[in-house]
């Protein structure tokens, strides 16, 4: 090849680039800092949310990006903090003897971010609304623990009559009756009484969950898209919205009506919605951003070496499903052999490289076991060991000595670089350790994968689960017989009975005993092949302090500071 044109080509590229911009102001943002009175120094924290959030309506949101966005903007009766669950808008609560009635007392003089007073009625309205079938909230079931909650959410506009669906003539009446019967009452302006269906030890945690955050009746009924606009949105959190441009940026400023505004240090929080994490990292490293999550996989080794990678715990388990209802994996010995023949340390160190923790159980670390007074995982321990000799023995017993005669099988995973690399590593390990040669991996779109998993049309599938609340139940109730998330299509009567006990007993000791025992049964049947517990990775400027990241994946900047 003639070299001259190449040089000329490069030169022209440079010329184009130089023509493009002659000044060199290094700026990543056009945000004009808004004036605020509280903090004197201008402290702007810019964070990449990683995706757009369409709505800030707490009842309708169902993704972590929105959860992180709503956290500084409003508050629940309780609030998740570094020190655990602390009173939020409620200054205190009382629980009756059998754990079914909670009485919350709101703080005095609570105000919405527009200055209007907030009362217990606001909570009655918000929770009724979140449960109303008209709202059609994805997470309405987080309120099913309240007496009459599921019933209200299940009032249907249409009824089945034979094969036909007809309009339910009593719809309005049924809705009204169910609303009245709901176990949420405002005793007076400051007191909220909540009656639960059954004792629910994690109900207090749920009051900090987005679906249960308060909304303002006048605002909600005032306009249909109140939660999509800066002008109409109001909350009761440490911050309020200053500016919001769809898919571009959301700018927050301190809420002057917040009850504890002296704790607020930042003058502004800016959320960007950059989807390409590589771009976000470039921006962060050139000073246009302070915090981002999930840096691109290729950059992790470098960031680790430069000591720039932050790791936060995550209440999530990454696992494989081996279809328990189909040969060859309907044989528990085969499932165990596969689980034991994986080098998990090598996977987290050489493949995923994000500080994940090898997993030998179902429930990820993160929730406390109040009986053992330590982390539930620590209390429960591991349920199996990696053991090649044992794995080979089990496989031989199942009729496949040295992997001979093992049928060809397909691993399915949703298209993603990490999932691909993990599947390749597993194929390699199972081949080397068990002599299984006929495995191949196929990628597919996420919803197609889910469809196959739910209908049981798979042999081996990649899967993962993140808890909705910090209690082992969020991992355990999914494996109930016929459960909507029981993608292993597994069923065990003893297990079902234990979970039922744990769900209804008021005795904490019996409850945790039942949960540990149930997990033991599931793991003894190896209904899933655990690989690792997730971690949340982030990159953060050294100037930032006081960011709270909880294991559920929510990042709270409310009381963060910039040095």
């Amino acid at each position: 090849m003639n070299r001259k044109p190449l040089v000329a080509g490069m030169a022209s590229l440079m010329v184009l680039a130089l023509l493009a911009g002659c000044t060199s102001k290094q700026s990543g943002t056009t945000t004009e800092p808004t004036k605020t009175d509280t903090p004197k120094v201008n402290k702007v924290l810019r964070y990449n949310a990683g995706a757009d959030f369409a709505t800030l309506d707490p009842a309708l949101m169902s993704d972590l990006v929105s959860f992180t966005a709503i956290t500084p903007l409003t508050e629940g009766l309780m609030r998740q903090t570094e020190k655990g669950l602390v009173p939020g808008l409620a200054k205190e609560y009382k629980m009756n003897a059998d754990g079914t009635v909670y009485t919350f007392t709101l703080r005095d003089g609570l105000k919405w971010s527009n200055g209007e007073p907030m009362t217990a009625e606001d909570f009655v309205y918000s929770w009724t609304r979140a449960l109303s079938p008209e709202t059609a909230a994805d997470y309405a079931y987080q309120l099913y623990y309240i007496k009459g909650g599921e019933e209200l959410n299940s009032v249907a506009k249409k009824k089945k009559e034979g094969d036909k669906e007809v309009d339910n003539p009593n719809y309005a009446k049924e809705l009204e009756a169910a609303t009245k019967a709901l176990g949420v009452k405002a005793v007076n302006a400051n007191t909220l009484e909540v009656t639960l269906k059954a004792p629910t030890p994690y109900f207090l945690d749920l009051t900090a969950f987005p679906t249960l955050l308060p909304v303002n009746k006048k605002i909600v009924e005032g306009s249909k898209d109140w939660a999509n606009k800066a002008e109409t949105f109001i909350g009761a959190g440490p911050f309020k919205i200053a500016k919001w441009e769809a898919k571009k940026e959301l700018v927050l400023e301190p809420n002057p009506y917040y009850y504890d505004k002296s704790k607020i240090k930042l003058s502004q929080i800016v959320y960007y919605m950059i989807e390409e994490q590589g771009t976000a990292l470039q921006l962060l490293e050139s000073g246009g951003l302070e915090v981002m999550d999930a840096p691109p996989g290729a950059e992790i080794p470098r960031l680790t070496k430069e000591n720039k990678l932050g790791k936060a715990p995550s209440y999530g388990t990454y696992y494989y499903l081996l279809n328990t209802s189909k040969a060859p994996f309907n044989d528990v010995r085969v499932r165990k052999a596969f689980a034991m023949a994986i080098d998990r340390k090598s996977i987290v160190e050489n493949v995923t490289k994000g500080g994940q923790i090898p997993a030998y159980a179902l429930v990820a670390p993160g929730a406390t076991d109040p009986v053992a007074k330590k982390d539930y995982r620590e209390a429960g321990g591991n349920y199996f060991k990696e053991d090649l000799a044992e794995a080979k023995k089990l496989l031989a017993e199942a009729g496949y000595p040295e992997g001979k005669g093992f049928p060809a099988a397909e691993i399915i995973y949703n298209t993603n670089e990490t999932h691909k690399a993990v599947s390749e590593a597993l194929i390699e390990m199972w081949k080397k350790n068990l002599g299984i040669t006929e495995l191949k991996a196929t990628n597919m779109e996420f919803k197609t994968l889910l469809d196959k998993r739910k209908s049981g049309e798979y042999t081996i599938s990649r899967a993962g689960w993140f808890g909705d609340y910090l209690d082992p139940m969020t991992y355990l109730d999914m494996w109930l017989t016929g459960g909507g998330n029981n993608d292993a299509h597994w069923s065990n009567k003893e297990y079902d009975a234990l979970i039922k006990t744990a769900q209804t007993t008021t005795d904490v000791k019996a409850r945790f005993e039942a949960m540990h025992k149930a997990e033991g049964i599931a793991m003894n049947d190896m209904i899933i092949t655990p690989l690792y517990y997730y971690t949340n990775l982030y990159v953060q400027s050294d100037k930032v302090t006081g960011v709270y990241r909880n294991a559920l994946g929510i990042t709270d900047f409310s009381f963060a500071d910039l040095k």
Partner: protein, 314 residues
């Protein structure tokens, strides 16, 4: 002319209807629906959602309602972007994408056509080689490589321009326009190379035609011959490809918009499919179809301007 336009308008409507129908059919056959998620929703919640978005109605009823709404250009609410309508999504994203895309096409035309002409005139000399290399890079390199390289060298290393993000304020003096420079360059690379190649090969063909020699022989200056007879003929090919190309570029590039974090329409095409966001899939597809047929019609009319030999007959 009027009858011709009327006929074309009718066939365009038919095309758009066909596309809408096909999309509707294919969309409902792919596995999963808008509410399929890792966490299976309780029965009651699912029913409420389906009732709210009228997914409980029989498909033919959904289809007819949908066509009626499209006719009134009411594209419905998005499933995934709760509280936003598809009209809002298009109204917000398209102007952004169209600005970047329009600028990119302009750059591609203004640079690509002269480059192609130059290459043809100096065939096998260094300008031709230079253009060949440039266009080979432009056509063979995927957009994300060019975009990433520009971002890294121009923005991160040289700090001449912002790394990413977007501003609608392009007025000078002001910094807003700077956000658009790199995306426009990156986006214009392919069409620029494409135009240059087209013009070059067509020019070469035209330059050898008898009428070119005749024109020179009757004493017309070389430049006049090249521009009036040569370039004009060569441009026809550019106009032919312009319509689909412009519709594609104006509606936004997924890659470029992702890399530079531009709040355009480009990514809606793919993310809506991943999310099974039915109304958005339908909305953006129909919108795209309308743009293409409109541009095609515009191009056919434009032919008659560039080449008087082409006439629209009734």
């Amino acid at each position: 002319m009027v009858r011709y336009l009327g006929r074309r308008l009718f066939s365009n409507l038919l095309t758009v209807w066909l596309i809408a129908t096909l999309t509707f059919g294919i969309m409902h056959t792919i596995p999963g629906d808008p509410f399929t998620s890792e966490k299976t929703l309780p029965e009651a919640v699912l029913l409420n959602l389906k009732e709210k978005y009228h997914l409980n109605d029989p498909l033919p009823k959904q289809y007819i309602t949908y066509l009626g709404n499209v006719a009134r250009w009411d594209l419905g609410p998005s499933f995934a972007q709760k509280g936003r309508s598809v009209n809002e999504i298009i109204n917000q994203g398209f102007p952004v994408s169209a600005r970047v895309g329009g600028a990119a096409i302009l750059v591609a035309l203004l640079i690509g056509i002269p480059l192609g002409a130059l290459a043809a005139l100096f065939r096998d000399k260094w300008p031709d080689h230079f253009v060949t290399v440039l266009t080979t890079i432009g056509i063979s390199q995927p957009g994300f490589i060019i975009a990433t390289l520009l971002q890294y060298f121009v923005a991160v290393k040289l700090k001449l321009l912002p790394v990413a993000l977007w501003s609608d304020q392009w007025k000078v003096p002001g910094d807003g326009w700077k956000f658009a420079v790199l995306p426009v360059i990156a986006l214009s690379f392919f069409p620029l190379a494409y135009f240059a190649r087209l013009v070059r090969s067509n020019m070469l063909e035209v330059l050898n035609q008898d009428y070119m020699r005749t024109a020179r022989a009757k004493g017309l200056p070389r430049l006049t011959v090249i521009i009036k007879h040569g370039l004009r003929n060569a441009l026809l090919s550019v106009i032919t490809v312009l319509a689909p190309l412009a519709a594609g570029i104006l509606t936004g590039s997924l890659v470029i918009e992702r890399i530079f974090a531009i709040p355009g329409l480009g990514k809606e095409f793919t993310t809506s499919i991943f999310n099974r966001d039915y109304t958005v899939i339908m909305g953006v597809t129909v919108f795209y179809a309308v743009l293409i047929v409109t541009f095609n019609l515009a191009v056919d009319v434009l032919y008659t301007v560039v080449d008087p030999r082409i006439q629209i007959a009734d």
